[in-house]
Symmetry: C2
Subunit: 340 residues, 2 copies
């Protein structure tokens, strides 16, 4: 599978053609200071004439950097969070990376083989750092990378005491503000449909719900809490359960926008009116929120800010040997539309 690229010009040939030394060409290529303008022009011309492109392997070897970062996600995450969140994050990270001259590599890990292969790839020095989409609690990947001394930043925590640098949204606060809003607007019986409770993010959103009730002095009724799994179907089913158990329900907080959309469907099918009769707020704010009927109120994560922060932390991590785990929790925002 070896490839031969005949007649690919090297830096040396460029130097010869421009009548300068190799060091000078290297300086020009890397925009280093201290080259006379006329020399620089001559070199630039030679580069253009020869169609020279630096060999990245050689540069990596000599310069000990790859000029690339990987954004890794597991298949589970991908499906769970769905395309919108995923693609928004990719976009945000891409934007944040734009002027850093780094190549963004997406990697999907679906098996142990792929996990191992990726670790070898990363440890082999093909990327300068790794961004990890929120991984399940049991995923050993973050620690494998950290142990290998690779700059690594997580998007989302695995647990409350994560010993890796990460960026996360304020899930607790977001949920709390959503539920507080429902309470403030006079709703008395507020249910919640959670995410899978073995995921930290789902636990946080549930905690926010409880904190809001506590603050308002409202009793936390266990049967108003139903576990879902972030999917639309789980929203439909959970809502049906809730309506049966608590016909007097007048508000629902769902731990994802998808789940909220499912709940909305069931409510309408049951003849309940939203928001007059029952108010609904979801968490996360992607394609779906604007498409539901009525439009869904949600807690929005600051996606662009997440992207920028991920990149900034990774760069810091790359600068200095990691002496500390840095954690950034970004504020979320309650977006009111028609459903609450």
């Amino acid at each position: 599978m070896g490839r031969r690229r005949p007649g690919v010009p090297t830096l040396e040939e460029v130097a010869a053609r421009a009548g300068v030394g190799r060091g000078t060409v290297s300086r020009v290529v890397n925009d280093a200071a201290g080259v006379r303008a006329s020399t620089r022009d001559a070199v630039r011309r030679a580069i253009a004439e020869l169609g020279y492109v630096p060999n990245l392997a050689a540069r990596s070897l000599a310069g000990r950097r790859a000029d690339a970062v990987a954004l890794v996600m597991t298949e589970t995450d991908w499906r769970l969070f769905g395309e919108p969140f995923f693609s928004e994050i990719v976009r945000a990270v891409g934007d944040a990376l734009t002027d850093s001259g780094m190549q963004l590599l997406l990697t999907l890990i679906r098996s142990d083989t792929e996990r191992r292969r990726f670790v070898e790839y990363a440890r082999g020095g093909r990327v300068d750092g790794v961004l990890l989409m929120s991984v399940r609690a049991q995923d050993p990947l973050p620690d494998m990378l950290a142990d290998a001394g690779l700059p690594t930043v997580l998007l989302g925590r695995r647990t409350g005491e994560e010993c890796v640098t990460y960026v996360d949204a304020d899930n607790v606060g977001g949920a709390r503000s959503a539920v507080s809003h429902l309470l403030d607007s006079g709703r008395g019986t507020i249910a919640t449909i959670t995410g899978p409770l073995d995921m930290y993010v789902a636990q946080c959103r549930l905690r926010g719900y409880r904190e809001a009730l506590l603050r308002a002095g409202v009793e936390d009724v266990p049967s108003l809490v139903v576990e879902g799994d972030f999917t639309q179907e789980s929203g439909r089913r959970a809502m049906a359960d809730l309506l049966e158990r608590h016909p007097g329900i007048d508000a629902v907080f769902a731990a994802s926008d998808t789940t909220a959309a499912g709940a909305l469907e069931t409510l309408r099918a049951a003849g309940r009116r939203v928001p007059d009769d029952v108010a609904v707020v979801g968490f996360d704010d992607f394609l779906l929120a604007e498409q539901t009927d009525p439009k869904l109120s949600t807690v929005r994560q600051p996606v662009d800010e997440i992207g920028r922060t991920l990149v900034r932390l990774l760069e810091e991590e790359m600068e200095e040997p990691a002496v500390a785990w840095r954690h950034v929790i970004l504020r979320t925002e309650l977006v009111l539309r028609d459903s609450a």
Copy 2:
């Protein structure tokens, strides 16, 4: 942004520790034949003790290969085809690559800057080959890569006379079989909602529709053809138009499953029954088909086969200097569910 990895063991240190030469260690690492078992074991032990991982930059430089392939897509494609097609292809290519020891890199190109950066990355030798998701007709990327002598395989053509190696599905044949099926089941007035007609794939599906009518000796009524853009919304709108213009319509062929789902919605809202009253067939077969009510009949692309073929062609392209453009058109399959 340079990274220092202090104390990362090199092949040389492994050799010293195992008491052998560097060549031997290299052979062991690369599973080359001709090493005595006892020697191999000694080397393996040294590798394990030191936690040695090959430096991939050095390997690339010396071995002139990257052991990585890129799967590139443009943002337009991504949104257009939606997550299902995209993720299915990624999965299929990943599977096909599993035992080749190559790392799969996904790259999203959203701007000229990113396009240029990627070409430098690829020309710089960081990937052995490039897989391109079907690109718009005007996209210069395939030619840029081909000109640079990089093994490149397209998924989907840009035009009928594509001078790049590609894999495509039999869009014409698939559409033809769908429409023929509608004709065979006694439908007389068959409309079609196309994709954006500046895309070759959309043209092909429309051609298939026309060929089926022609073969059956049915007149091709221009007003039965409405241009959509593969989205669900375009399906809804086009269907509304069609119902107005041709109340007697009794079948629809939509150029995507998403569009078909939109058409289905509008039909039901208009009180038409599917399939008794109007039959519907879509093209492409992903999440949506099973979720619509009634379940959608579709033309299915052989995703796994596409993945395998892409990888096979790329490997062939890498073996020998490209002497010819190879084209593979894969058969599609009509999947009958409830809507037709």
